[in-house]
Symmetry: D2
Subunit: 388 residues, 4 copies
């Protein structure tokens, strides 16, 4: 069976999640399109990289990501670094003829994303953006229902992504709060997942009308580089620096097909952890999803008789998308790892079968255009059309 060698750049939360998915993919989807081989990993220092190689099971390591990109044995570059390095790495990897999977958002802004998209198109490599949540089996099931026409023409999309890990003002100023590194705040970090859902399930977004806020204007400087996502609070006497990105945004959205909707994301919602939801109303039914209860999809079919109509709580399993490869009965448990394992499966399949894959850099670019429009709309207090 064919092997594909992976070069991983970044050994934080995402390096871990992706490494697990390379190890686990063939165990779930067998025969696998190809066996992922964890060849080389890069992290910021030689010591950190060495440690990461032992931990995540890579043959080689380096503190210089260019050595990964230049390594002729590598088939795939996996970009799991902060947002400000995505473009440089991806463009170099494309030039080196590697297939690329990049963490989201694709870039800090649309201009950067466009350069990346041009590079992969020119190189003719496969490219993917790791909006993994659309590969939650329940979300894939929602897509299937919509494609089957089970809920009819879509009227409305309401998406939210609510978290609270940085609701505490003592949660430190990691790169996620710095525009120069992250591009935007909540919007790029989590809002883009909702936008990915909207485009995946409903269709292209044509214009937005947004409002945005930075609720916590400054935060304590973070000790050390590693992003702890708010699990470590700073002590009181650490000096503070300004936050220059959004903590929260709400946007109205118009879709090309006539549907309307709204998207809200915030990291200041006490009690919400990973509250990534959507509710879709169609002419023939409705769908509700909440990632915090990701094994379940709620769906209502208008065609049910009036005395038996109501939202059905459907736990995904072997009868549903990806189900045969996963666990043998529903509710054994889909975790974060499974969403990433499915992502790798689809990416490898696209590489081996030479087919299109989504979401790719085009989608990443389109989402960046929408994100830029959201920020512009919030600034101008007006509807902003999305460029084609």
């Amino acid at each position: 069976m064919k092997k594909l060698n992976v070069g991983m750049i970044g050994a934080g939360f995402m390096g871990k999640a992706h490494s697990l998915s390379y190890a686990g993919m063939p165990m779930f989807f067998w025969p696998a399109p190809a066996i992922p081989h964890r060849k080389m990993i890069a992290d910021v220092t030689e010591a950190a990289a060495k440690d990461a190689a032992a931990r995540f099971g890579y043959d080689e390591y380096t503190s210089d990501w260019r050595r990964v990109v230049e390594n002729p044995d590598i088939d795939i570059i996996d970009i799991a670094t902060p947002n400000d390095s995505h473009a440089e790495i991806a463009i170099a990897a494309a030039k080196a003829g590697k297939h690329i999977i990049s963490e989201k958002p694709l870039a800090r802004n649309a201009a950067e994303a466009k350069l990346m998209l041009d590079a992969v198109k020119e190189a003719g490599v496969k490219h993917m953006v790791a909006f993994n949540y659309r590969r939650t089996p329940t979300v894939a099931l929602a897509k299937k229902y919509i494609e089957e026409g089970a809920i009819g023409r879509i009227l409305n999309f309401r998406g939210t992504y609510l978290q609270d890990w940085s609701a505490d003002p003592n949660s430190p100023l990691s790169w996620r709060f710095q525009k120069s590194v992250a591009g935007s705040g909540t919007l790029g970090d989590i809002g883009t997942h909702v936008i990915d859902f909207a485009r995946y399930l409903v269709g292209e977004i044509t214009e937005v009308m947004a409002t945005a806020q930075t609720w916590i204007k400054e935060r304590p400087v973070q000790a050390g580089g590693a992003d702890k996502l708010g699990t470590v609070k700073a002590s009181q006497d650490v000096p503070k620096k300004p936050v220059d990105v959004d903590d929260e945004f709400i946007t109205l959205v118009n879709f090309e097909n006539g549907a309307i909707g709204s998207v809200e994301a915030t990291r200041n919602a006490w009690g919400r952890n990973n509250f990534l939801t959507f509710e879709i109303h169609g002419e023939k039914g409705s769908i509700y999803f909440n990632y915090e209860r990701r094994d379940e999809l709620q769906v209502c079919f208008a065609d049910d008789p009036a005395d038996r109509r109501g939202f059905r709580t459907i736990y995904t399993g072997p009868a549903h998308p990806y189900g045969e490869g996963l666990w043998p009965i529903p509710a054994l448990g889909i975790g974060y790892g499974e969403t990433k394992i499915i992502e790798v499966y689809d990416f490898f399949k696209a590489i081996v079968e030479d087919t299109d894959i989504a979401p790719n850099f085009y989608d990443g670019y389109q989402i960046a255009l929408i994100s830029d429009a959201i920020l512009k709309s919030a600034e101008k207090n007006a509807w902003v059309k999305i460029e084609k």
Copy 2:
């Protein structure tokens, strides 16, 4: 014990709900501020009014609402008619020196509401608008938490009111779909309840940015005058007429105190019945309410230790607002009737003790201003400020 004589105008769904509340109020809140006496009821025909008097327990009946207003024995006029007659009745009742409780929305638009407000102010009578949902004990508990500072400064309000009773295109064209009678569609009918929540719990709204849609452009003409709220579907061959009000709207809202938010209402959400919800994020906690599960309030306190923090599901009972008058343990069951019984209790108390009551015609007028602004904003695709 003092009695107050009630004159009820309208004998539909709301006439029923209010009549129950007059009968039940002293049973729950004892000693009652005064005993409501069901004196006289008006309905569209003599026969209907006679029937209503027997059914709802009134001493007298009439097909001419003016006879109720002019009846010197009547202390309180209760307006439970479609929206287009609220103003005329209320102004006449005020002139006759009656205290007035009117169903919501107060009027078809702000101009009409203003005339009503002027009339009651001039007459010096008590006036109330029946936004009963804020008297759900769980909503009153949310208010109490907010006033105690339990969730800190409010950042965000997210309200929805989703129903599906008219999602079927064969649901007939009752007065609720006719601008000349209703003033607006989903907005006035249910959206105003969410706006009432927003003002009650967060504060005054200063501007809105909305979008609105009429999804079902025409509906079968309704047989008979009585509004069945979609429980009877028209047969296929009934002629159709245009709908000239909104089926759905979404609006961004800005509050005077700096909070932001959104409100959405639709009657095209299959599977949602009376899905009136709000979620409020504050600096120290969050609150979530869903009327479909109205015995429960969800609240998260940031001050809880990290390993014991999470939304608490609080069932209201004797320890909570209005609880001592209601049922002796939580979850015995708050129904629609109880919200109306509490409303009558507070209204009677205000009359007897000569104190202010909310929501009153000023609130109804302010909500009408906001509603008008929402429609204007949706038309102009721009933020619209609310007049003071």
Copy 3:
């Protein structure tokens, strides 16, 4: 329209609930079978009875319940007193030829219940036991599904009734903790509601195997006679007396039709308020009900296609049992009052149409036999058959 005069005995929590139902029934179910007229009420003292008459809307009052029973104008005797007086009152009422509705449990034990059953049979009057929860529209819907065969042959019934109002050891020793007054503890007070569900939905119970516990062995003596259901805690220095009834029981149950099951009830379940639930598994589907969310019934149909199968959350409304009489859309809210209003409606209908009504004194007697068997089983640690 015919009137039926009601004589109410008892003016506590149940006197209140029943009085509301007499006032409200015709408002909901119209034309009503007959109009309930609140004629006379009895309470323990003349002053209390006078107060109750004013509060609950009765023409006359007395401190001697025999005067109600002997009043020739009275058609119906409503027994809303503690358990130890049910038999004496009911037997006297039957002899006086009155129709009787009695609060549950019917009596302190089966022997007492048998005397009551014999008396009403001999008198030929209508008789009902107020197990109101089976008249929750969602429970009636469960019954309808079962009768339609929608879930096939029933295999299993699991019922619970969990509360916490007396979980605090300082919750006072009301009559509900005294065997001489109550007959049993949690069993008679709330467990019998679950047994009523089991018999109503599944069928006759043939034998039981139980365990029971008194967790809190003594409680502070209660000041005053009125049962506050734990809303008032005693101060620390109040003397304590022994509790001689069960706080909790669990029983296995066998049904005549081959189904098996379990029933558990406790008043020591912190966080559970009125957690009256059942789950029924049939060969073709399952049903789940939780009174704390009483507007919803959960039902799963095995015949649904595998990729669309799951529990449906059905909110009852006009399309469901009793729905046309209640509120015009689902989830407007079924409270405790509505269950009692439906109860009165069915009782009046049976009287006027001279038909059978359930649950009646036969059912109350059968439940008393099962209750006695549960206590005996817990004592003997062995299965106990129910007498026929």
Copy 4:
């Protein structure tokens, strides 16, 4: 860093789950106690074993499990075969001085389990039974609360495990329905997980009183050996053979510390997928867990003020047991894989640090004694004491 070589016996559902956990453990828990190395795997045929080695990442393969046990390079034997081979393999592995982790139930009955326990004790090796669900972080959190005294003395335990994968009579007769292979039916397969919870969270069980049923008396013979857990239905014309194990059981349980409770398990509960739940009532609070929503623990603390008391929904994350090793925020998603990864982590830690681990073969034996007692009780219709 130390490596421990794993020999895996069995390549079905459990072989897959365990293999993932060996690959993933160091990625989550770092520094790992030791690095698991997937050395050798056995399956029923040479071809199947070869395929499994490629799929699950083992260096070597064999169709003879004895070659794994005898391999001197192997440190750990992982038994993931049907129940009838656990004893033979484990005893051989113990004699060969290997540490052993066995799938549950430990054996077909207590006698067999006793032989296994004796063998591992004699050999002085580490031994574990894979009751993985107690390692769900929310269950570990429940344990922590109980140990902290947060819910006080435990009064009651109520556990269920409800599934529906074999509710269809055409679900084939896999080994799980054959007493000679499985020992018992639902009891051993899933009921033992609940018994493990009961012993882990509450304490030792001293006696049981059970009822059991085989609802579907015969099933179609299964084509091929692999257990599909009901995902493949047999066609109508496949011959049927008798089922000789339980489909459902309910048992009362008494605990050494005075608590009481009940356990129910069935595979005939349409709509329930992996509905593994417990509810525990203590003198100071309550805990509820449902594996279908395994990221959440429900807990109520009696000490909360009456107007803020209610079940808290706590999503586990970095602030909770195992949380620092898992994902950086709550609700990113705990799946089945994570429970197994934690299991391997604790097992490896016990081996490297030479400490006790639970649940071990002693626990497995004790659970087998309880299981045997449940079957005996159901047969004799009497309470059965558990041997010490």
